[in-house]
Subunit: 226 residues, 2 copies
């Protein structure tokens, strides 16, 4: 279904460079984009499918992962409200030569911009091309971070162990401690702790709030420590 | 040193979108770029250095790697003649939030385009922005490939084992076999074999020529199998 009158407003929110497009381009893109409501577990882009298009998340949660020949999965990033998935439109960028699967991890409402439309836009507009660059750089950074974690596994294990120890000490799943304090405790930088805790939160292992960390999946943390 | 008259020709070769720039932009960029001859082992971009600029390789060989806190290195890609390094200019792209070290693996002649100049160019020109996109996508793909190798180590080990077995069978380090045949032998696609063999070649383990593979570092392959 096409975007109805008034719904263009949505795009203004999701598509950060909207205001920098000409009226003509705005009409072209909003005429071609369409909305989908998808159930948890729906595969939105995957092996065999060539080029689904750019996916904008209005609500819900998506997961992008790679798949080994033996069917093992590794999550490379998650997409939340307002996020944009570029890797579901690999045909747009010739040198993008790897495949990810994108699935709805929770019920979601998404917008799809067809690859051809976006590609033309990107080729004509420096603003859109640079915006695309930013999105790609941000995913690239997430993957690099994940790779470093995988290579030098120590920190996630250490942090998981630390959280388990603290909850056990407190006798309850909620730890009242700042990221700064944990960083000092573990001989690392606050940023490193914050990033890893956010990763844990995305994985459903903890829930973060101001000044406190709630362990929501003790078993998951224990598994990580092994 | 600035590019001398006549040397602009070089840029035409290295900078693939040169012809699509205005005369004014061409002059701006060739006025700002400078050449460096660097000895093997020179660190061109690394921790602490903020933004070295875009590096174009005229000759020689560079290596980009990440470094753990404990000083462990992992090569993420190599750069050969005509290649361009984007990750040595991270300040150009706000969302690029990881650090690589770039060093000369062999004596090299490089050109450096200052980040500020390139950034302006990229912001103004859709052609340059899309070109940058292509370079980033290509590095991103290399990293994804490497990550898959690391996660699901089986194939490099299997291929190394296969090559060792074949040389042992032949009684000499040179195997006369097509990539297609190896692929059939190993139940995979020719592209997968070719890519891994190229990776082996970059690592100095084998030397590829038409219809033949020469094992140049038997010990290295054996180590890979372990």
């Amino acid at each position: 279904m096409n975007i109805e009158g008034g719904l263009k407003m949505e795009f203004e929110r999701y598509f950060q460079v909207w205001d920098k497009l000409t009226r003509e381009k705005q009409e072209e893109i909003s005429g071609a984009a369409f909305a989908r409501n998808v159930k948890k577990g729906t595969v939105l882009h995957g092996r065999g499918e060539d080029c689904t298009g750019l996916i904008l998340v209005e609500s819900g949660q998506l997961r992008a992962f790679i798949l080994s020949d033996e069917g093992r999965e590794v999550t490379i990033y998650r997409l939340f409200e307002m996020d944009i998935c570029l890797l579901s439109a690999p045909c747009m960028i010739q040198s993008l030569q790897f495949e990810v699967t994108v699935e709805a991890e929770k019920d979601a409402k998404i917008w799809v911009i067809p690859s051809g439309i976006y590609k033309d836009l990107m080729e004509e507009s420096a603003v859109v091309a640079n915006y695309t660059n930013q999105i790609m750089a941000s995913r690239f950074s997430e993957v690099m971070w994940l790779m470093e974690q995988i290579m030098w596994k120590s920190f996630d294990k250490r942090l998981a162990g630390f959280l388990l120890e603290e909850t056990s000490l407190e006798g309850e799943p909620c730890i009242r401690i700042t990221h700064e304090k944990i960083a000092n405790h573990m001989g690392t930088a606050r940023e490193v702790v914050t990033r890893m805790l956010r990763y844990f939160q995305n994985e459903g292992l903890v829930k973060l709030s101001r000044g406190a960390i709630e362990v929501t999946d003790e078993e998951g943390l224990e598994k990580l420590c092994m």
